[in-house]
Symmetry: C2
Subunit: 427 residues, 2 copies
């Protein structure tokens, strides 16, 4: 990459420090950019992605060829590969971000104190966001677009496998920024694929305000352990659907097969089904029929196994496994409290659903579950910023601090208090 | 302490793990406690503080005697000492917390999606809060009360100097909890004054959801470096007041002397005065007269020094020093942008004020300053949750994530999404 070549006499530390300074300076400009300017940059970047399609596909072709030569696994190669459709989706994604309301400058609240001080709480950008992700090149476009709209500068560190693809996408984003006179340093990537760059990034607490890791458990654990910078975590989605004693069978069948099988690789997919003993006799068989017909493997507790020969044994490990695959663990529970206890112990605080016609049971579940999203009679696959009407998201936060659930442009902002007086002094 | 004695055969790790489990269990109970139950516990704790006055003073007397024997510094001994008035203030503080609105269960927003899903965002407690503080025993009552009201369990780790005083205060809080049938594990202190206990606490990410350090820079740096748990930082208040070219002299005099001298030991006290060159001739001398008369020492840049012989030289270090004392650094600046640049470089993102009658200058300052609180024509000493009308606070957050500015009961909560459907599946 050109940026690496131009810095070849500098140490990685120096390069990272320079990158951080440029990001900080760009953030100050971005914070004051108008909504129209940011939207125009997003639209120009989308146009550039479409115009540069051949270059993007060529860069990606090289990344994929390298990945194949290294015999990387098929799932990774699938995530890495972009085609015309995926490029179009990235461009459309940027246009959708342009269409979102600008969160910056929004008034959260205002009030006047008895002494006449007028206090306002207004949304401001976070500043500089560091995003560490793995092989999906589209994160470059999505994360770059969301940070730009929310007025933040961003430092991206994607996986080495997708380096050429990400650089080509970044060039389109830069073109969008340049077209409206915003600094290209608003969206930068780290100048090296060296793993040491991540370590340096996690200690740049002067330059970076928040780190968002997007990827597997080991990445997120490394980031949580090493980072001196606050982390917005996006952990596993070990999501549960609980079939209550008062569950309507038709709704149950529709919701469960969707929650598990619509897309098995998303974090909102149900991984464990809890079925109330009260409906075992009526609901279990049709549910398993639907799921198995749809291609799902079932791992059950001893009781479920004893009731259906198609079920294999679930181990203790299964209850805390995010399969991201057509596999479902199934357990019998006795009542709402038992379901809440199981979820509290094995879950990841992401999204859980109860299927019931009993309002009291539904309310007990909503109140008792300590997860970002709790649903009644709906598919856990609705756990998505877009489905919530919040627009594109950078992920679903499973932490409780700052943002919980879908993290969209509003969640990428902070606030400050503006206080207007007329000479007031404190007694 | 009884708790230490009963655990003397357990390792510190084991004791801390047990403490964490009790806190987690108590948090689940607290999260469901009614507003009335929490308020009754707070009022009973306040009554207990008043009833136990002799015991509290005796415990504190021993702490103070030990501190004197160790020749600890006078400021620390002052912070450590409680008297009848300070106990009454603690009790009143708990009663004021009882009078605050309960943030738990509050509906932030609700909307219905085109597919009929009803989405609500409701406030929930954070869970278990770890508070690490130094010698002020009143933090035990304040922090315990704020966490209780916000439905959180809390693990307190106060300074060893105040161990007996804090234990006596904690006994009153426990009495309050017991009187309404809430678990005393809702407010616990670590069972050892061993510094290692802090290290263990900072790694208990299963048991503790957020760490709040209250104390000096070295404590906060240790916590930020070591903690695996998200930290709500309360850093220095290097607050600035900027006298703009269009500052009214009478307002300026009233505000500046209050901002610096009302109480010099609070984080909202102004530490640096920036004076616009345009008003040097008219405003500097009366301001310095007022400040010096009030007992303030002045450290100025070369120009300020040359204009007034009572001014000593400010070093580079002075511009980034939180004196917490009757000392003020004073610098000449040329215009609003220069003031913003100085504050961005040397400040701590806490609270800054501009004094001006020029609306455009005021708005430029409000927009350009990246601090938790930005004021126009008011004393920086208003940087306080109570003065903002938010009630008691645990401190002023200088971070941008989760909470910025005053951290009161509302800021000690998170939220979750409740989604009610009728069998919806995602297309």
């Amino acid at each position: 990459m050109a940026i690496a070549a131009s810095h070849e006499t500098l140490t990685l530390d120096d390069q990272m420090r320079a990158l951080g300074s440029r990001a900080r300076a760009a953030a100050a400009v971005l914070a004051k950019a108008s909504t129209a300017q940011k939207n125009d940059a997003l639209l120009a970047a989308a146009a550039s992605l479409r115009a540069q399609l051949p270059a993007l596909l060529e860069a990606n072709h090289q990344d994929v060829a390298d990945a194949r030569a290294k015999a990387l696994d098929a799932a990774l190669i699938d995530r890495l590969t972009i085609d015309e459709k995926r490029v179009a989706a990235m461009a459309k994604g940027l246009e959708e971000i342009a269409a979102l309301a600008d969160p910056v400058g929004r008034l959260d609240a205002d009030w006047t104190r008895p002494n006449g001080l007028i206090i306002q709480r207004v949304r401001v950008p976070l500043g500089v966001i560091g995003i560490i992700y793995e092989s999906r090149p589209n994160v470059t476009a999505d994360a770059g677009g969301l940070c730009l709209k929310s007025g933040n500068a961003v430092i991206l560190r994607g996986g080495s496998e997708s380096a050429r693809s990400s650089a080509a996408i970044l060039a389109c984003l830069s073109e969008g920024l340049e077209s409206v006179g915003l600094p290209t340093a608003a969206i930068q990537s780290v100048p090296s694929q060296d793993r040491a760059a991540v370590g340096i990034m996690l200690r740049m607490d002067d330059a970076i305000d928040v780190i968002i890791p997007r990827g597997g458990k080991s990445l997120i654990e490394r980031v949580s352990t090493e980072s001196r910078i606050p982390v917005l975590k996006h952990l596993d989605g070990i999501c549960h659907t609980y079939i209550h004693a008062a569950a309507n069978l038709a709704k149950t069948r529709a919701v469960v097969v969707n929650a598990k099988m619509r897309r098995t690789g998303v974090c909102g997919a149900t991984e464990t089904l809890l079925i109330d003993r009260a409906v075992l006799a009526t609901h279990l068989k049709p549910l398993l029929d639907d799921l198995i017909t749809a291609g799902c493997a079932i791992r059950g507790d001893a009781e479920i196994q004893s009731l259906d020969s198609r079920v294999t044994a679930a181990t203790e490990q299964d209850w805390s496994t995010e399969y991201l695959a057509p596999i479902l663990s199934v357990r019998v529970v006795d009542g709402v409290e038992a379901a809440i206890t199981h979820i509290g112990y094995y879950g990841s605080h992401h999204t859980e659903a109860i299927i019931t016609e009993d309002v009291a049971a539904a309310e007990a579940f909503l109140a008792g579950i300590d997860s970002a999203i709790v649903m009644v009679n709906a598919s856990t696959q609705f756990a998505d910023g877009g489905e919530f009407g919040m627009g594109a998201e950078i992920g679903i936060s499973t932490g409780k601090l700052h943002a919980r659930g879908p993290v969209g442009v509003a969640e990428l902002t902070s606030y400050k208090y503006l206080v207007r007086g007329n000479g007031q002094v404190r007694p």
